[in-house]
C-alpha cells in the first residue's frame, strides 16, 4: 500500500466520531425525554459518517430515529471507506478493475446463499430448542458424504438430485433421532443443568459423527462430479465478445465469471429456501414451529405439542446443514473434518443476523460471503488476503456486537 495514511485517517475519523456519537447522543435524547433505544447506534453511525457536520444538526434537531438513521450513514461510511482505500492503494485491482470487483461481489453472494442456508438450520434449532448445536458442521459434512455415497458407491449412476434428496433424508433422520434420544430429557426435567447438558451432548455428537465417518470412510478426499453439465454455448452466437458464455466449468456474463458448479449449488439453495419459506409460512406445521419459537407455553395451550416440534426443528436444522453440504460436494473436496470451519462460520452468521432470526441468518450469510470475497480480493498484502478469510467475518461480528448486541435482525430485549 503506497499511501496507507489516507486509510488510517479515515479509520481514525470513523472510530473517533463514532464513539463521540455513540456516547453523547443517548444523553442528549435522554435529557429531552425522547426514546433512546436507537440513539446509541444511530449516533455512532451518524458520527462516523459525517463527524461534527452531521452530529451537531442531529443533536440540535433530535429527530425521531428509525432505520434510515443507520442505513444512510452506513452507505456514506462505505463510500468514504472506498474512497480512502482507492487513495491509499491506487494500483489495487479493487480500484482499477471494475469487472474484478463485480466478479468478487457476485462470487461472494453466490457462496453467501449457501452459507445462509446452513446458518438458517442453526438458527432454526436455536429459536425452537434454545440450544446451540455444536454438531452443525458435522451435518454439513454428512450431507456431502451422503451424496457421494448415494451417487458413487451405493447406486453408481444415480441422478445427483436424488442423491441430494437421500442426503437430506439421512441428515434429517440422524438429527431427529438424536433429538428424541438425547435432547428430550432436557424438557422432562431429567437433566439438572439443561444448558450445559445441551452443549456437552452436541459436542459429543460432533466428535462421534466426525470420527465415526473417518473410521468408516477413511481420510481420502471425496468429490462428486458436477450435478449439471451445462452445454457449451455463447450469446450472441459467434460474437467476438459474447455477452453470455457458458461452458461446463464456467458461466460468464459480460466480464463476470462464476464457476458452473457454484451456480448449480446456489440455485439449489435458493430453491430450497423458497420451499422452506413456503413450509414455515404456509403450512400448519410450519406455523406451529414458528408459534413454538414465539412462545412455547402459549403454543402448547393452543394444542401444539412442543416436544414434537423440537424433534422436527432439530431434524430440519440438521437437514438444512446437510443440504448445504450436499450442494457443495461438487464444488469442494470432501473430508470428514470439513465441517469444522463451516460450523464456526455458521456461529458468526447467526450472531451477526440475530440469534433465532430466520431472515437474519440468510442476510448474515450473504454479508459474510461478500466480506470474505472482498477481503480475499482487496487486502493489499497477498500473503494475508486469503489467510485471514476466517477473520473477516469476525471483524464484522465484533462491530455488530459492539453497536447492536442483539444482531442485525435480533429480537429487541
Amino acid at each position: 500500500m503506497e499511501h496507507a495514511s489516507y486509510l488510517y485517517l479515515a479509520l481514525l475519523w470513523f472510530i473517533g466520531w463514532g464513539v463521540v456519537g455513540a456516547v453523547v447522543t443517548p444523553r442528549i435524547y435522554g435529557r429531552k425525554d425522547l426514546d433512546i433505544s436507537q440513539a446509541s447506534l444511530a449516533g455512532a453511525a451518524t458520527g462516523a459518517a459525517g463527524g461534527p457536520f452531521s452530529l451537531v444538526p442531529l443533536w440540535y434537531l433530535t429527530p425521531k430515529l428509525n432505520w434510515k438513521w443507520v442505513a444512510i450513514p452506513a452507505a456514506v461510511i462505505a463510500l468514504i471507506f472506498a474512497g480512502a482505500f482507492a487513495a491509499a492503494d491506487p494500483d489495487n485491482f479493487c480500484v482499477t478493475n471494475g469487472a474484478f470487483v463485480t466478479t468478487q461481489i457476485v462470487n461472494g453472494l453466490v457462496i453467501g446463499t449457501i452459507y445462509g442456508l446452513m446458518a438458517l438450520g442453526l438458527t432454526l434449532i436455536f429459536s425452537i430448542l434454545g440450544v446451540v448445536s455444536f454438531a452443525h458442521g458435522e451435518f454439513y459434512m454428512l450431507g456431502g458424504m451422503g451424496v457421494y455415497y448415494f451417487t458413487t458407491v451405493w447406486f453408481p449412476g444415480l441422478n445427483p438430485f436424488l442423491g441430494v434428496l437421500g442426503a437430506a433424508l439421512l441428515t434429517f433422520a440422524i438429527g431427529a433421532i438424536f433429538e428424541r434420544v438425547f435432547l428430550r430429557a432436557m424438557n422432562t426435567g431429567k437433566v439438572e443443568r439443561p444448558g450445559e447438558y445441551a452443549i456437552l451432548v452436541t459436542f459429543g455428537l460432533a466428535f462421534f459423527l466426525q470420527y465415526a465417518t473417518l473410521a468408516l470412510v477413511g481420510s481420502n478426499p471425496k468429490k462428486v462430479s458436477r450435478f449439471i453439465e451445462y452445454p457449451s454455448f455463447s450469446l450472441p452466437v459467434s460474437a467476438e465478445e459474447p455477452v453470455l458464455d457458458v461452458t461446463a466449468s464456467t458461466i460468464r456474463i459480460f466480464d463476470i465469471s462464476v464457476s458452473s458448479p457454484r451456480v448449480t449449488a446456489a440455485l439449489i439453495s435458493l430453491i430450497l429456501l423458497a420451499i422452506l419459506m413456503w413450509f414455515l409460512y404456509r403450512t400448519w406445521t410450519g406455523k406451529a414451529l414458528r408459534a413454538v419459537s414465539e412462545d412455547r407455553q402459549a403454543a402448547a395451550v393452543t394444542g401444539i405439542n412442543p416436544n414434537t416440534m423440537n424433534t422436527l426443528a432439530f431434524g430440519l436444522g440438521a437437514m438444512l446443514a446437510g443440504l448445504s453440504g450436499a450442494s457443495l460436494v461438487q464444488v469442494f473436496s470432501w473430508v470428514p473434518w470439513v465441517g469444522v470451519q463451516a460450523s464456526g462460520r455458521s456461529f458468526v452468521i447467526i450472531v451477526l443476523g440475530g440469534m433465532g432470526s430466520l431472515p437474519g441468518a440468510f442476510v448474515g450469510g450473504l454479508i459474510v460471503g461478500l466480506v470474505e470475497a472482498l477481503g480475499a480480493g482487496c487486502i493489499p498484502d497477498p500473503q494475508r488476503a486469503a489467510a485471514y478469510i476466517p477473520a473477516y467475518g469476525m471483524i464484522i461480528l465484533t462491530l455488530v456486537l459492539l453497536l447492536k448486541p442483539t444482531g442485525l435482525f435480533g429480537r429487541e430485549l
Binding site: 485491482f93 478493475n97 474484478f100 466478479t103 468478487q104 462470487n107 461472494g108 457462496i111 470420527y211 473417518l214 477413511g218 481420510s219 481420502n220 478426499p221 471425496k222 468429490k223 462430479s225 466449468s249 464456467t250 465469471s257 464457476s259 458452473s260 458448479p261 457454484r262 457443495l328 464444488v331 469442494f332 473436496s333 470432501w334 473430508v335 470428514p336 473434518w337 470439513v338 469444522v340 470451519q341 463451516a342 470474505e372 470475497a373 472482498l374 477481503g375 480475499a376 480480493g377 497477498p382 500473503q383 494475508r384 488476503a385 486469503a386 489467510a387 478469510i389 476466517p390
Partner: protein
C-alpha cells in the same frame, strides 16, 4: 509409645540386611508371585538391581517353553498373583546382560512413530505413512527383530499441531520408553518434537519434513531423510526458468512447510530475474474463489502450489474451473497428486499437472525399492508408492539397522551408529555425511547436518486425463527425463 517406635526401627534395620544377605543365591530358584510384587522389586530383592528385571522375564519365558507351569510374560509391567516365575542366579543374570544368551522373544524394543492421523494434520499423509511403517515393521520382525528382540511400533497421532507434537513425544519417550522416534509429516510439528528429543537424548529420524530449520539446528539427535525446502527450491527454480516463465504466483500453505518453501523459491526466482508473488492460505481452506480471481487478474504465466492434502485439490480444481488451471497455464501441483485415484476424483480438470516426486525414477529402482513398492501396492490397493511412503518405510528400517549396529539401545550409541550408517532402502543408499564425528566444513551451510544428501528430486507430469501415477512422465531434470514437458497453450 516410644518403645514401639524403637522396636519398629530395630526390626526394620534387622529385616533389611537379612533380605540383602539372603539375596544373591548361588542357583536360580522358582518363585510364586505374591500380592504387591512387581518385577523390578523382585529383581532388586534377588539380584540386587532394580533394572535387572528383563533377566527374570527372559528366563521365565525360557522355562515356560519347556514347562507350562511357568508363566509366559508378554509385558514386563504385568505379572499376576500366583504366576510361577524363575529367578535366575547372579551368573545367569550376568550371562543374559553380557549378551551370552539368545535374546529373541524376551520382550520388545519400542520405536515411536509420529504421524498426523486427524485434522488439521494431513490425515492422507499420516495414513499413507502408517501403512508403510506396518510393512517395515513386519519385515524387521520377520528378520529376527532388533538385538534379538521383537520390535514394537508405538504410533502417536500429532494431529498436525505443534503442541500435540511436544506432548506425544513426551509420552513416547517418558511413558513408552521408545529407543528412537521416526516419521512426521509436518515441519511445524517436527520443530517442537526435536526439542523433546534433544532434552531426552533420543534420536529421531524425520521422514517427510522439508523445512531447512530442522537440520540447521544441528541437534545431535536430529536426522532427516526427506529433501530440504531449499534443495527442492533449486530444482523448481531451474525448471521454471527453463520454461521461460516471467511472472510466477506461489500459492502456499500458512505453515512452516509452506512459508519456508515459498520464501526459498521466491528468493531463487528473483535471483533469476523472475517476478514472484506469494499468496498464502490456511490448511483446510475450501473456498479459493476470491484469491483465484485475484491471481487471474494478475495474469501470471505459471502457478506453483505448495498447499497440501485436500486443500491443494480444492485450489487446483477451482483454478481449473476459473480458467487458470494446469490446462491453461503451467501449474506445479502439490505432490499429493501422486495418489492418482484421489487426484482424478478431486481434480478432474487436472491434466498436465506437474508435481514433485522424491526418490529414484522407475528405471533406476533398486531391488529394495521394487520389493517395497510391490508390498505397498498390494497392501493399500494403490497403483504406486508415494515418496512419503518410501521415506516412512526407510526411516523405520534405518533406525532398526542402527540399533542393531549400535548393539545397544543407548541414545548416544544409536546416534553414533546412525552417523556411520550405510543403509540400502526404497530411496536408495542412505548415509549422513556430516555430524558430530565429521563436523560441517566452513564452506558448507549448517542445514547439511545429519541430512541425507541425495534424495533424487524429479518433476513428473500427468499427460493424459486419468493417467496412473506409475505412467506419469518424468519431465525434469534432463538426466532422468522420459518425455518432454507439455505446456498448455504452446
Amino acid at each position: 509409645m516410644k518403645t514401639y517406635l524403637i522396636l519398629l526401627v530395630v526390626a526394620l534395620l534387622l529385616a533389611m540386611p537379612a533380605a540383602a544377605i539372603a539375596a544373591p543365591p548361588a542357583q536360580g530358584q522358582d518363585y510364586v508371585v505374591q500380592a504387591d510384587d512387581w518385577l523390578s522389586k523382585l529383581s532388586d530383592k534377588f539380584l540386587g538391581d532394580l533394572l535387572a528385571f528383563p533377566a527374570i522375564t527372559y528366563y521365565t519365558n525360557q522355562k515356560n517353553a519347556e514347562d507350562e507351569s511357568f508363566a509366559k510374560i508378554t509385558d514386563s509391567n504385568v505379572i499376576e498373583v500366583g504366576q510361577k516365575l524363575y529367578i535366575p542366579s547372579q551368573e545367569e543374570a550376568q550371562a543374559y546382560f553380557s549378551g551370552g544368551t539368545e535374546r529373541l522373544g524376551t520382550g520388545t524394543i519400542k520405536i515411536g512413530a509420529v504421524v498426523p492421523l486427524s485434522a488439521p494434520g494431513s490425515v492422507t499423509g499420516g495414513e499413507t505413512m502408517r501403512a508403510a511403517f506396518e510393512i517395515a515393521l513386519e519385515e524387521i520382525n520377520a528378520a529376527g527383530g532388533v538385538l534379538g528382540q521383537e520390535v514394537e511400533l508405538v504410533l502417536a497421532d500429532t494431529e498436525g499441531l505443534p503442541e500435540r507434537g511436544t506432548s506425544q513425544m513426551e509420552r513416547l519417550i517418558n511413558q513408552e520408553g521408545v529407543v528412537a522416534v521416526v516419521g512426521e509429516y509436518h515441519s511445524a510439528v517436527a520443530l517442537t518434537e526435536m526439542e523433546v528429543a534433544k532434552a531426552n537424548n533420543v534420536p529421531v529420524v524425520f521422514a517427510e519434513t522439508w523445512s531447512d530449520s530442522i537440520t540447521e539446528s544441528q541437534y545431535p539427535q536430529v536426522f532427516r531423510i526427506a529433501p530440504m525446502s531449499s534443495l527442492t527450491a533449486d530444482v523448481y527454480a531451474s525448471f521454471i526458468d527453463s520454461l521461460a516463465a516471467k511472472r510466477v504466483v506461489i500459492m502456499t500453505e500458512n505453515t512452516s512447510y509452506g512459508i519456508d518453501q515459498a520464501e526459498s523459491l521466491e528468493e531463487k526466482l528473483v535471483d533469476k530475474g523472475i517476478e514472484a508473488i506469494t499468496f498464502s492460505a490456511d490448511i483446510g481452506t475450501q473456498d479459493f474463489s476470491g484469491i483465484i480471481e485475484r491471481i487471474k487478474a494478475g495474469n501470471p504465466d505459471l502457478i506453483f502450489v505448495s498447499l497440501t492434502g485436500e486443500t491443494s485439490y480444492n485450489f487446483e480444481q477451482q483454478a481449473a474451473e476459473a480458467g487458470i488451471g494446469p490446462q491453461d497455464i503451467p501449474m506445479l501441483c502439490n505432490q499429493v497428486a501422486a495418489d492418482d485415484e484421489a487426484f482424478w476424483a478431486n481434480v478432474p480438470d487436472g491434466n498436465l499437472c506437474i508435481f514433485t516426486r522424491v526418490g529414484l525414477p522407475q528405471s533406476l529402482y533398486t531391488t529394495e525399492t521394487t520389493a517395497f513398492v510391490d508390498k505397498y501396492t498390494t497392501k493399500t490397493g494403490k497403483a504406486a508408492a508415494e515418496s512419503f511412503a518410501m521415506e516412512a518405510y526407510d526411516s523405520l528400517k534405518l533406525v532398526a539397522q542402527a540399533v542393531n549396529e549400535a548393539g545397544s539401545t543407548d541414545g548416544d550409541a544409536v546416534i553414533s551408529a546412525l552417523e556411520n550408517i550405510n543403509y540400502n532402502g526404497a530411496l536408495g543408499n542412505i548415509t549422513f555425511p556430516y555430524g558430530t564425528q565429521n563436523p560441517i566444513p566452513e564452506n558448507v551451510p549448517a542445514k547439511w547436518w545429519h541430512q541425507f544428501p541425495e534424495p533424487a528430486i524429479l518433476l513428473v507430469q500427468y499427460q493424459e486425463p486419468g493417467q496412473k501415477f506409475s505412467d506419469s512422465a518424468v519431465v525434469y531434470p534432463d538426466t532422468y527425463k522420459t518425455a518432454d514437458v507439455i505446456i498448455a497453450g504452446r
